[in-house]
Structure formats: C-alpha cells, structure tokens
Symmetry: C2
Subunit: 557 residues, 2 copies
C-alpha cells in the first residue's frame, strides 16, 4: 500500500492541523505523520480563551486539549513545537524548519503537505502600539499574559479596540473581573457582521451592563508611563484612561509561507482551495484559518475563519491526503456569541450583505418566545429573517435575545444548506413540548410573518427604516396601537396613540391621504391594525416590524 509508506507533514498545530493529524492516523495506520508549529502549545481551544480571562474557565490546562506526548504515545504522531516552517520547496517536496529553541534549521520531506498556518491579529502601526499591557488575544501565550495582567489586580480601566465578537466576549469577561471596560469601534455601531437594527439592540444591552461603547471613533495613538506600560488611549475624539488594551480589530490569514512557495491565494486573500482542500500545487492542502471557503448562499469565495470550520476542513484534507476522497462544500458564516445575558447569532447573509450581493431582498423582524409562553423561564428572542423576493428562498437570519438562540440559528443553518424557501421553513416539523418551544416554534412564526410580506399580504417596515425616514423629515403617521398605559410608559417620539380595540370605530380620526405606520409592543397588534385599516379602505398602510421590542432607539414619555 503506497499511501501507507508516505510521509505526511502538517504545518500548524491548533484546531485544523491537529484534527488533520489525528484523522490521518485513523485513516492510515502506517503513514509517517509529523506536525510542526512555531508555538509552544498545540491543540488548544482558542474560542475558550475569553472565558479563562473571566475565570469562568478556571484552569488554563482545560484550554489545552492535548499534549504532544499524547499524540506520540497514542497515535504515533510526531509533533515538533517551537519549530517554524520557513520555506516550502514544492518541487523537492521539502519544508525547511527552524528550531526556535536551538536556533537551528532542519529539512523535512513530505509526500503530502497540509498547510494549517492559521491567522494572526491585525496590529495597526500606531504610535505607542508596543507599550506594555497592549494585547492581542490569539494564542495560549496571549491568554496567559492577559490573565496575569488581570490577576495582578492593577487593571482598573481596560479599553477594547474593536466591537466584534472577540471584543464583546472580552468586554463581558473583563467586566466579570470588576474592570471598567470601554469598547471603541470605528463603525457607527458594534458587531459589524450583523445588520445595524439588530446590532444596535445588542449595543444597548452591552451599555446597560456598564460597558462604555464608543462608536464612529478610532484609536490614533497610545500613551504610557515611565515603566513603559500603557496609560491612555488617544482616539480621534477623546482620551481614555487604560491600564490595559485588547486589540481585536480583526485577523488576517497567515499566507506568506504558502505564497512564497507559489501557492495561490484567492479573492479573499486566504489560500485558495478546491472542495478537496487541495491548493494549486498537487499534494499540498490548506485548511483552517489560512484557507478560503465558498459561501454556500452566494457561491462566491469567502474567508470566514472559525474553529468549527477548521475541524471539518482538517478532516477532509486528512482523508484526501491519505488516499481517500472527501469534500467540503463551504460555509454559511454561522456565528453565535454570548454577550452578557444576550445570545447573539447569525447565519447566511445579513440584509446589508444580501443587498450588496445583488439580491432583491425582503426581510422581517419578529419577536417571539423561546418556550411555551405559559411555561416558567420562557424568555424573549428577536428574529430577523432575510429572503430573496424572486426565489422566496431564505438568505440569512440574525437572532438575538435572552432566550434560546443557538437552536434557531442551527435550524436555519441546516435549512440554508439545502436552499430552503421561507414556506418550507414555516412547515418544518420541529420538536414541541412546553419546556422547549412554542407549539409553532419561533422560527416557524417568523417564517410565516416573512411569508406574508413576501406574498404581499402585509407590508411591514423595519424600525431602522422608520427612524431613517423620521430623521429625513418624511411625512407619515406613526400610529401607536397599544393600551393607554403602555403608551404613557414610553412611546416613539411623534407617534399618535389610538388603541387597537378602538381603532375600527375611530378610523375617521386618521387622515387617509397620509401614509400610516402602525406599531405596538411586539408587532402582532400592529399587524392587526394594519388589516383593520386596509379593510377600512386605507391604501397606504404599513406595520412596523417587531415594533417596540425591535426599536433600538430612545422612547419618550
């Protein structure tokens, strides 16, 4: 068996690399398998790191899943830590490796090569960037340094640069440690992958939890004290005291080594691979955060580096590198993040992304409950669904809330994989019992609401659009159809109040020549008001999606 006597070399020892190594051994008992990594640690749980800083995960050993000795003993896999691959000779099938401990070079030959060099944090070349206590969070070494800094008890104020997923996880975990946290984000709101309407609601929650969120502002420089530790973050608009800074403005794929060897990168600037994880060089595979994927909704190349994808790519590359045949078709950009009490998830395209990709889009925002409403501990979630008006297929979803979000994200991820229409989603036979779902699950309710919009049965308008038109001074009647006490407790500025149960008998109070946008608390009464007004002959009526529950802006009393 030729394949059994071959040498497999893997560059990179975290999620993708070690998964590939272990799977290759299971596929091929006799192959010589070697992993090289410039890091001192392998097989660690990068995604768990913020929780170690927050002391939710108490023992750093828990983050390191396996030691090199385990792989040697149990799988006969040689793992060389602190060994940096410096040159790949694809013709000679050799990799030059530097032993970082001894500062010596060695050359490893291979028959099959798997590149799993990962990604690295973007560190902007700003004045003061090399001051002490300015961190990135990527490796075990990073997390140990941050944890030591926090454990020192000398961190009163921390600034997180970048309001993405890692930034928010860090914010939460530092707040848990009693630190004053500011998050600074260049965009007008945190959580760039989400649409603004959903992101603003998360932002509101983060601010309620005591985090200072600064948007539309960027870091210009850092200042330090005489011992070289950061003290101040200077932004375009202000100065922030900072005993510690975490940079989380993004990552970039580690592709230099591959590119220098003539391995091609794709449109996303990560290493281009086919479904078998093969690069343009025969026998050379790329996996994990350094490799490109196909976005299953658009069919276009995408770079969405995630640990879950890395593991799957590692498995596929291992099967192919050991003579088998397996494929990985692509990703949906599925993400989930815990942000204090909120669960925040996204899958597929946001509305903004879908429009940018050229789709004709309809969307809906639907508040729902995660369990039967009469069951204790039922909690709210807010679902945004985005669909293609032509094919009626779902394009993506964003879901946030204190209730169960990950389940609904995964249902949609599965549906998107198979190109489901909104109608098909509304008919799914999902599991129902009071402790788990409403009798029509939140996702089904949401699909029904979007279905009504898609078929023109109802006309909704997103809160963000209402606010935009309000700000532009456009003329419309914003109609609050809640009860008197609800209205008095806080309503949207400039709205007119007319409770739903009196609406049918008092339609003469409304000017038929003007556009009417109805809202309530959660959208149900607004949709009812919409129908009452349509039936009464009003022609220019809309209801506001999700109503107050989806309104991220202020209310007045």
């Amino acid at each position: 068996m030729a394949s059994n006597s071959q040498d497999l070399l893997i560059i990179g020892g975290v999620a993708a690399g070690m998964k590939a190594a272990a799977k290759a051994r299971r596929e091929s008992p006799a192959m010589k398998i070697t992993v090289v990594t410039d890091e001192p640690y392998i097989s660690y749980a990068g995604c768990g790191m913020p929780y170690f800083i927050g002391d939710i995960i108490r023992d750093s050993k828990k983050l390191i899943l396996r030691e090199p000795a385990y792989f040697k003993h149990m799988h006969n896999i040689d793992v060389l830590t602190r060994h940096q691959a410096t040159v790949i000779h694809t013709k000679a099938k050799q990799v030059k490796v530097k032993n970082l401990e001894k500062n010596s070079d060695l050359t490893l030959r291979y028959d099959k090569l798997i590149i799993a060099t990962g990604a690295q944090p973007i560190v902007p070349p700003l004045p003061g960037i090399f001051l002490n206590n300015i961190f990135t969070l990527r490796t075990v070494s990073d997390v140990l340094r941050i944890r030591a800094c926090v454990d020192s008890g000398r961190v009163k104020n921390a600034v997180i640069v970048g309001g993405g997923l890692i930034g928010l996880e860090m914010a939460e975990n530092l707040v848990l440690r009693g630190i004053n946290v500011s998050v600074i984000e260049l965009l007008g709101r945190i959580l760039p992958p989400l649409d603004e309407d959903m992101a603003l609601l998360v932002q509101k929650h983060v601010m309620e939890k005591g985090v200072e969120v600064i948007t539309s502002d960027g870091v210009k420089s850092f200042e330090g004290n005489t011992s070289g530790a950061v003290t101040t973050v200077i932004t375009g608009k202000r100065q922030l005291p900072a005993d510690m800074v975490v940079l989380s403005i993004g990552i970039k794929p580690n592709t230099n080594l591959a590119q220098e060897a003539g391995i091609v990168t794709g449109a996303s600037r990560a290493i281009k691979v086919n479904e078998r994880m093969e690069t343009n060089i025969p026998g050379v595979y790329a996996i994990g955060d350094c490799a490109e994927n196909i976005h299953l909704v658009t069919g276009n190349p995408a770079w969405i580096p995630l640990g879950s994808t890395a593991a799957k790519m590692g498995r596929v590359a291992a099967i192919n590198a050991t003579g088998g045949n397996d494929t990985f078709k692509g990703v949906l950009g599925t993400l989930i993040v815990k942000v204090f009490e909120l669960n925040v998830g996204k899958v597929g395209l946001s509305e903004r992304e879908a429009v940018k990709e050229g789709f004709e889009v309809e969307s809906a925002i639907i508040p729902a409950e995660d369990k039967a409403h009469y069951y204790p501990e039922t909690k709210d979630i807010l679902i945004k669904l985005i669909a293609d008006t032509t094919t009626k297929k779902l394009l993506g979803a964003e879901i946030i809330g204190e209730g169960v979000v990950d389940k609904r994200i995964d249902i949609i991820a599965t549906a998107l994989t198979f190109g489901a229409t909104v109608d098909q989603i509304s008919k799914l036979d999902l599991a129902y019992a009071p402790p788990y779902a409403m009798s029509m699950d939140a996702i089904i309710v949401a699909a029904n609401v979007l279905g009504n919009k898609l078929s023109g049965k109802t006309v909704g308008i997103l809160p963000s659009k209402v606010a935009e038109r309000h700000d532009r001074g456009e003329d419309f009647i914003l109609l609050d159809v809640r009860t008197e006490s609800e209205y008095k407790n806080g309503h949207i500025k400039g709205s007119k109040h007319l409770p739903l149960d009196k609406l049918a008998s008092r339609t003469q109070e409304l000017d038929r020549s003007r556009e009417i946008i109805a809202y309530c608390r959660a959208g149900l009464r607004a949709a009812h008001a919409y129908r009452i007004l349509k039936n009464a002959g009003f022609y220019n009526v809309k209801y506001m999606d999700g109503s107050i529950l989806a309104w991220p802006y202020g209310l007045e009393k």
Copy 2:
C-alpha cells in the same frame, strides 16, 4: 368578492380549530366564521397540562390561551361552546348542532367546513373502570379534576397506565407533588416510539427518580372502596395500591361524525386529507388530531397527532378555505419530552420502524457533550442515528440526555425534511462558541461516526445486540479497554480487561480465531482499540457503540 360573503364553519375549538378560525379571519375580513365545540373551554394548551398538575404552571388560566369573547371582540368570530355537532349534511351544506346547555338543536349552514374534532383517550372496558379517581388527561375539565384530586392531599399512591410520553410527564409531575408513582406498561419497556436501547436508558433514569416502572404487565381490573373511589389496580401479575389512576394508553381520532357523513378515513383510521387539507368532499377540510398526515421519510400515511402539527394544518386549511392556496406536505413524527432531568427526543424513524418499513439500516449510538467540554455546565447527551445503507440518507434520530437535546432534534428534523445524507449532516455549518456547542457539534460527530460505519471503515455493534448475543450464549470476547480503576468500578459481566495503552503490545493475549467486541466508557477508546486490532491483523473485530454510556443493563464489580 364571493369568498368574502361565504360562511365558514369550524367544528372543534382547541389548537387546530382556533388557529384555523383566526387565520381565516386574517385572510378574509368579511367571511362569517363560526366555531362550535362540545367543550366548555377553547384554545387551551393541552401539552401544558401535566405541568399544571405538577404546579410548575401555577395558574390554570395560563393554560387557556383565549376566551370566546376575545375572538368575538377582536376577530368577529362566533364561538359556540358546549355545542356538539351531531350530523353533517354535506349535500345541504349544513351541520346539526346540539346546545348541550339547553339540550336544544340548531342547524348551521356553511360554504366551507373545517373538521377539527380532535382525538380522545382510549379507555379500556375493564372491570372497575368507572370508579372515582380514575382519570384520563385530555381536556381542561380532565386537568381540573386531576389537580383537585392531587390538591386534596389524599393521594399517596398513583398508578399511571401506559409508559408513553403523557404517562412519563404525569409521573414526573406527580412525583413533584410528593406522590408514590407506579407506571405500568404492557411492552417490555417504556416509551414505545423509541428503540429499546434508548428507551431502557430513560427507564433507568425514571426508576432512579423513585418511580416504580412495571413492564410486560397489563391492568386487568380496578377495585374500589365503599364510596366508589379506586383503591387497587389489579394487573396480570400483581396488585398495586392506588388512590388515583391516570390512563394514558393512547388516543384515537374522533372520526365518527365525519364517517357518518361519508367522509373517508385513511390507512391510519384518521380522516384522509390531501396536501391542501381537503377531504374527499369538496369544501370540507380536516385538520389536527382527527386528520391523517404523510410521513415525510416513508411517504406513507401516518397518524401522529401533535399540537404543533395541528397549528400548521389549521393555518393551511384556513388559507385554502378562504380562497387561497397552501399545502402541508407532512410530518416527521418529531417529539420531545422532559422526563425528570432527561431530555428525550425523536425524529423520523426509529431503527425498529425503519426495518419494518423495509429499509436496509445502519445505526450508531454516540455519546457526546452538549457544549465545549471545558465550559462549565456542559452535560452529556446520547445520540442514536439511523440511516439507509443504500442511499446513505438519514432516516431518523433518537437523542436523550441531561444536555441540550431539542436543538439537535430540530437540526435533524430540518435535515430530514430535505432528504439529507449522513455526509451532508457531518458538514453542516452549525453555530459554534463554547457556551453552545463543541467545535464539531455533537450531531456532526455522530454523523461522522455513522459515516464510518456506513462506508465500512469501522464495524460497530449496538449494546442491545451485544446483550442479545450474550444472552444467546454466543461466543465472543467482550474486551474492556478502559483503565484498571474504571474496570474495577463496574464492567460488563464476562468481559476481559486490557487497557488501551497496553493493547498494541499485548495483542498476543487475545485469541485471533474468536470475535472481539471492544468497549470503553464512551466509544472513542473502543474505536481506537478496533483500529489497533485491525492493524494487528485481527479480522473479526467490532466496537460497541456508545459503550458503557449506552449500556442500559447492569454492571458487575
């Protein structure tokens, strides 16, 4: 608009009927809509009832979602409670209705008729069946009676007849009220919809929670005291003291009214409908628990009455009865039930059902964790996947455990809807972050394990099959590859111990001519041992699926 002036009559006022009424009103503002029901209550949450008895839901009003007055005021729907439909004249388009309060008859005409007569508990004609405190649980009246009986404080012992979903929910909620509970089931184990291997694990849990579970035994009669209250349940094999009995041996569809009108029932004996919910009589629809469905995995008629399905059917019938066009393709028999600390779910076909349907089946039982293993509060789940060996498509899944089960059931429900292969499931881009999942979600791991079995890479054997062959006295080596201390702490009777890390060097201790079945705690080391033995030239090797975690029988020390 002809359709707007038509009369819609709905027989039945629970989940399907009231959903149809409300949806019909949204579709058609002017239609006259009338609902008749023989019950005093409408629109109630049948599935929540056990939790009201357990006092988890504290207020019976919470179970009743809407009152007739609400439907009249808000939707202009007439709801006639305590009005029993007695005859349907499909030619005259009339329904004869008895006012149960006044004992008078009236005749209602219709243009469109929706039959939502539901189902009723099977009450076996046993001696003593009409004694007091023998209950079924179906209606609001039932639950109020049971709750009053429990609240009286005089129930020390309760017997539940039937170990299905409702029976187990009742068992849990009565235990919560401090009552000694026995469950009696005619089959050899509880939870008939599940395969025996999974059901026995649930049964073990129920017994650990203090419920007496009696299987392979049936009730012969009931005995009572002088005041006519039940005191004793007489079974084929024993006598059980009982201050209260709950019959939950099954339900049957209420089809008499329809059948007498010439409306056809199907193979399942429920009312036959097409995808539009139309019966054989034009203009007459049937929905909810009285109507048949198509099982989406088999394509065959099936009767799997559930509240979640009722709501969807109600919606579709309403759209069609008001001149629209909508379809409901069928169901997957998706179920979820909380049984004390366990979550128990099923979707699609069990292995037993799949074999019965003529599929060539491969299955796997896989223990997994519901979140990242290093995250606090991570809990175990046990997944059984069943696939078609020819098409490699998944046929069904059963999942149990203290961890999150419903999410994985719903992922599989969605995948089954689109005819997913096991390979496709293993590549799903599911949401990953440590608080929500392992980096390869439990479902993906499970699909990978089953994929290995399907492709012949590994040969597994279910615990139930091992036990069966053991009982038959077949010759094989049952090889425990766990550590010494694990082995000493409890192992399967007759097993040989050889820890995994010594296996490769001690294979000469094993007789190559005999079949070897390896097991460990969770299956991973057993699969590893399988590969070591295969590589060492052993030809007749298997590993036990799920190993000790999936072993529902006893252990010895």
